[in-house]
């Protein structure tokens, strides 16, 4: 009887204890170590009161968030791999905490500059309301970013993205500059590729944050799409030339339109719509694929361009800015206003306008308009105005010209493809003996090009 009672009490006690062990019921589950917290306060001269007072357990309070962030910086570990030519090592991977401590004279919480996430004034960081609502990775990124400013790195005006035109300088020239954005991106990159003890979702966030911000925060992105040459033979059958290798792809079931470079690859333009060329694989022969991915989709959306087909259309990236430019059949021209979500007014009517070029005969990249007399005018897609004509006219024997990963490639009207190498044009060997009708460079989405 006593034994039974003892067992019952033990079992009930065990049950209660186990329930308390469940983290969802465990008040101590998320509590931070007091010794470490005190050390962080001392190492970073944290104004605890401004963060809401000392808090070790409640993650909703900013003090606890900051402790978590600093512990991630301190305890985050990275595998050491063989070094290569891309080494930047702006901050040594094993020394993030030490480095952060060196660059920080104090940490405060405030909201005196609400449009900022945080700011650094002579080594004193002030975290704004925006910092508190970020993800953990976002907050850690901010701390690392701000620390680099202490070393004297400043931002410059953005040429694109959310800070473009802003009075607040928010971008870095490029990754090579090694500024705050580069140091932050290096951290994200390390978390993704060498992080040993980070949560998988933290890593996932770091990967997308690095890729997304590489496009936004550098005036020259370190990561760019890779290019191939897309060519149509005289029967309209497409092929891609990738590092000298030719791969034939499926044609469409309709007569070929005009071959265009698109942000996703290549498309055939039909005035009112485009079909995408599948650069990656063979498809169902009867499934022509509308191009919904690039800005050629504007052709079948009502964005103020009117119901008539366009005479010509180009989607073109200049630097890190993207433009969509269209010429109507009446010879008026305009560019799409991304901020307003509609076309600008079609104006500058010129009945002689034939087509839009994105590479001049000299290989210059930009937006140009070819007239029916062979003259070429520069077009400012930002201001929507024509510039002066180029000194060089369009050669009669030239059918198309493009650049692929920096190399000029041309197509003559007799179907021959040439490349410009060592200051001279020579036959483009991968397409030797094939009669080609159209060529264009195309971004290919099976890899990125990383600038050295």
């Amino acid at each position: 009887m006593i034994r039974s009672f003892f067992f019952a009490v033990t079992a009930m006690f065990a049950c209660t204890a186990l329930a308390a062990d469940l983290p969802v019921f465990d008040k101590e589950f998320s509590c931070f170590n007091k010794v470490d917290a005190d050390r962080y306060v001392s190492d970073f001269n944290i104004n605890v009161k401004s963060f809401g007072g000392m808090e070790l357990c409640d993650s909703k309070l900013d003090t606890k968030k900051l402790f978590n962030d600093l512990s991630l910086v301190e305890q985050g570990a990275f595998d050491v791999a063989p070094q290569n030519v891309f080494i930047r090592n702006y901050v040594a991977s094993a020394e993030y905490y030490k480095w952060l401590k060196q660059q920080t004279r104090g940490m405060n919480r405030g909201n005196d500059i609400p449009h900022a996430t945080a700011y650094n004034s002579w080594g004193y960081f002030t975290m704004q309301d925006g910092w508190a609502t970020l993800s953990t990775l976002g907050r850690v990124g901010v701390v690392i970013h701000e620390a680099r400013h202490t070393e004297g790195y400043r931002h410059i005006p953005c040429t694109h993205g959310p800070y473009e035109g802003s009075s607040n300088d928010g971008c870095d020239k490029d990754y090579e500059y090694g500024g705050s954005h580069a140091v932050e991106m290096e951290y994200y990159g390390r978390v993704v590729t060498a992080g040993r003890n980070f949560h998988p979702i933290y890593k996932s966030m770091a990967r997308l944050m690095a890729m997304g911000r590489s496009n936004m925060m550098f005036n020259k992105s370190p990561i760019q799409v890779r290019e191939v040459l897309t060519a149509l033979d005289k029967d309209g059958r497409p092929a891609i030339v990738d590092e000298g290798k030719v791969t034939v792809r499926d044609g469409l079931t309709v007569a070929p339109g005009r071959l265009k470079r698109a942000s996703h690859g290549a498309s055939l333009f039909y005035g009112k719509m485009t079909y995408a060329i599948d650069l990656y694989s063979f498809r169902d022969q009867n499934a022509n694929m509308e191009d919904a991915y690039s800005y050629y989709k504007l052709l079948f959306l009502d964005k103020g361009q009117g119901p008539d087909p366009m005479k010509d259309f180009e989607e073109v990236d200049i630097g890190t800015r993207r433009f969509a430019v269209g010429i109507k059949n009446d010879g008026t021209i305009s560019s799409y206003q991304f901020a307003q979500g509609k076309w600008g007014p079609f104006a500058n009517q010129n009945a002689n306008a034939v087509s839009i070029l994105t590479t001049s005969p000299a290989g210059e990249h930009g937006v140009f308009v070819l007239m029916n007399d062979g003259s070429i005018y520069r077009y400012d897609a930002l201001k929507m105005t024509y510039g002066a004509p180029l000194t060089q006219r369009w050669p009669k024997e030239l059918a198309a010209i493009t650049t692929v990963n920096g190399q000029m490639i041309s197509l003559s009207t007799d179907g021959r493809v040439s490349s410009f190498q060592e200051k001279a044009w020579s036959e483009f060997l991968p397409l030797k003996g094939v009669s080609i009708s159209q060529i264009v460079s195309s971004p290919i989405y099976d890899a990125f090009v990383v600038e050295k």
Binding site: A8, M12, I87, A116, T133, Y175, F198, R207, S294
Partner: protein, 232 residues
């Protein structure tokens, strides 16, 4: 049997029954606790992350799919994102297992969490990731809703970055649920609505990979590029 001994027998039987019930409840909690208890050694949030017995993991994941358990477990999983995790591979395996057992009735809530600007970033990102890891075609429409949801006009550049990143994850996740034609149609709809260059790029990369799975996935492409940028 005397009347006294019969009463004693009934008391003993009742006590034994209580003991059995208590033991059964204790066993239930034991299996959950193995999965969820925080680790004292590593600072990792959950001891379950180091559990090398996949069968046990699987059984434990199944215990947290009821409506009653979902919210508190979700909160703690979100909090764990901001912690050191000594065994991220096991954590991912465990979360995938959990996601695959999340009932369809929770999918709208995950979408709601993902788009709730008042929630912290970790919770919102977890909600999208879980929808993708369900692997169920029913998740596709929710992911599409997240991916094509207009980015609010936020003044804080970092808040904007986060909104874009969240949608990029939703786009990638579309590539992991449903039939190829459904995914492609969904990605095309997302791309049509989006004017964001990064999101359009993500949609096309994902679509290219869906059309030809022998290509590198967008995740692999990112890792390769980032690997070239940093020192590894």
């Amino acid at each position: 049997m005397s009347e006294i001994s019969a009463a004693s027998y009934r008391r003993r039987m009742a006590l034994a029954l209580v003991v059995l019930v208590a033991a059964f409840i204790a066993l239930l909690f034991t299996s959950r606790t193995k999965h969820l208890k925080p680790s004292k050694n590593t600072g990792s949030t959950f001891k379950g992350a180091s559990n090398s017995n996949p069968t046990q993991d699987s059984q434990t994941a199944a215990t947290v799919d009821s409506k009653q358990d979902f919210e508190p477990v979700f909160e703690h999983e979100a909090e764990a994102i901001g912690r050191i995790d000594e065994q991220p591979a096991q954590t991912e395996e465990r979360l995938r297992e959990w996601a695959s057992n999340i009932p369809l009735s929770e999918f709208p809530k995950l979408q709601e969490k993902a788009l709730n600007l008042k929630l912290n970033g970790d919770s919102r990102f977890l909600a999208v990731q879980l929808l993708g890891w369900t692997g169920k075609s029913e998740a596709l429409s929710f992911l599409e809703n997240i991916a094509s949801n207009s980015i609010p006009p936020l003044k804080d550049e970092r808040a904007l970055s986060f909104e874009t990143t969240l949608r990029a994850l939703a786009i990638e996740s579309i590539g992991g649920v449903g039939e190829p034609q459904e995914k492609l149609a969904s990605l095309a709809r997302v791309a049509r609505k989006s004017e964001d260059r990064f999101l359009n790029d993500r949609a096309e990369r994902t679509a290219a990979w869906v059309r030809d799975p022998s290509l590198r996935s967008p995740i692999e492409q990112d890792r390769l590029a980032l690997g070239q940028i940093v020192d590894n």
